[in-house]
Amino acid sequence: MYINVENKKTYIATGSKEHIEGSMGITFIHGTAMDHTVWTLAGRHFARLGLNILAVDLPAHGHSEGDLIPSIEGMADWVIKAMDAAGLEKSIIVGHSMGSLVAFDVAARYPDRITALAMVGTALPMPVGDVLLNSAKENSPLAKDMINFWSHSQSGHLGGSQVPGTWMLGKLNRLLEQAGPGVIHNDLLACAEYSQGIERSKNVEAPTLLILGEDDMMTPVKSAKALADAIPQSRTVILPNCGHAIVNEAPNEMLDALVTII
């Protein structure tokens, strides 16, 4: 469904359920150049448990209008506006990759709005190599290939998928292709330039869950350790045989972990 955020038509997925007044909210933030469809399983699951789902398409992503937001902080401010527009006073917040930094920033700077935080496929800092950044800047297909290759584990590349009949790399590739010019570069640069994280960790009051892929090449497990140590109430779940695209490769295990934060 569409809502209005800053006078822009903004798409939110609700797990095909109407929001219930007074129910707990759970906000999902997608990663670089993705959209709400990466949260379909989790969104539909929690909607049927009675939670109010807010799986957003960030501005200029997916179905949402608006201009690209060039910083993680800017995206976090926008998420708060989206929660306001959707009527969510408080919410659990879940983000993947770039979305995990946005979710973290929301939890750190708006602690009174967030009851729990889940960071999926995350690291802090989240550096991005020049080769990838430059390819993305030129809107080269190589950028999509690099993201797709590095996002999946070895077993993911061999073709297995928990969603029968779905080719994970193909789906991710189509999502990346659907992103408009400049979207990938904008998002990657926002990740690379987000440098305030560790200092803000102490401000995260909400119980926090880090869900990491054991074989993640984009945000390796070791790169999330400092973050896990710095957040006061954090817990880490490491998923075996899983790369960075946890939403693709291990949606069931991700959901099992997310259930523990409700």
Binding site: T37, R44, G165, T166, R174, Q178
Partner: protein, 267 residues
């Protein structure tokens, strides 16, 4: 079929282009690269390659913009049968295949048996080697047939008089097909004599087997049809369909020669 041209027309009218690529397989052509949105295969044929399994594939390229078309409410509107699920909203580029899986597989139980999956996967491992052999054998058989005195006509894109000869050269540079037809002189009766005399070619309605297959529709699959009805369906009484396998081309030609000698005697 001129896939790029037909794809452009389909997309102009907000309709997805579905290509049946059974006889070409992904080895000879990649329809998605040419504009197709959905590709279907009978895996019973070249993909499994040995005529030992019944299976099929629907492959969604994830490229068609269902939302820009008002022709597919089953993709874009909320579906009460799935708790008000909108496939396009929830699955994005995987919307169509999600609907196929959820509706066709779940509701109708179309589930491939494990051994059938194994046979398809096992066959696919040798697809490139087999297709090269299918095509090279076919070239030799077509050359043999086009000059045979008992043959009235041969319809194969490799031949210059075929209406799609130039198109096939462009779209199918590695070869077009190992399944084609020719007309034998003498009509229905002679056609039957011809196929009955063959030993190496199996008289079967299947195609795409590693073994060569032959069928004479006028005396088998379409035997109940009148001459007029056959003609209306584009099937002459003397039409013989071949599916060229991966045996020795010389052996295949020798077998055909035997059939033609028997046919010639009866003419």
């Amino acid at each position: 079929m001129d896939i790029p041209k037909v794809a452009a027309i389909a997309h102009e009218h907000h309709i997805p282009l579905i290509v049946d690529s059974t006889t070409t397989t992904p080895y000879l052509i990649r329809p998605f690269d040419l504009g197709a949105d959905i590709v279907v295969h009978s895996a019973t044929k070249f993909l499994s390659g040995h005529g030992t399994v019944m299976a099929g594939l629907i492959v969604d390229g994830g490229t068609f913009d269902w939302e820009s078309s008002d022709k597919f409410p089953q993709m874009t509107e909320k579906y009460a049968g799935f708790h008000n699920l909108s496939f396009v909203e929830e699955f994005g580029p995987a919307a169509y295949i999600a609907r196929v899986r959820n509706e066709a597989a779940r509701d109708f139980g179309a589930c491939l048996a494990p051994n059938s999956s194994f046979l398809v996967l096992n066959g696919t491992e040798t697809l490139s080697v087999r297709m090269d052999k299918h095509i090279s054998n076919t070239k030799k058989v077509v050359e043999y047939l086009k000059n045979h005195e008992v043959v009235e006509w041969v319809s194969h894109p490799d031949l210059e008089d075929h209406p799609n000869h130039e198109l096939a050269k462009t779209l199918l540079p590695k070869g077009s097909t190992a399944v084609f037809s020719f007309g034998i002189k003498g009509g229905r009766k002679i056609g039957q004599i011809f196929i009955d005399r063959l030993d190496l070619f199996s008289n079967l309605a299947n195609i795409g087997d590693s073994k060569s297959l032959v069928i004479h529709p006028a005396s088998t699959t379409h035997q109940r049809m009148s001459v007029e009805d056959l003609e209306a369906a584009g099937i002459s009484e003397g039409l013989i369909r071949l599916s060229i396998g991966i045996e020795s081309a010389d052996d295949l030609i020798e077998d055909l020669d035997k059939g033609f000698r028997a046919a010639a005697k009866a003419l």
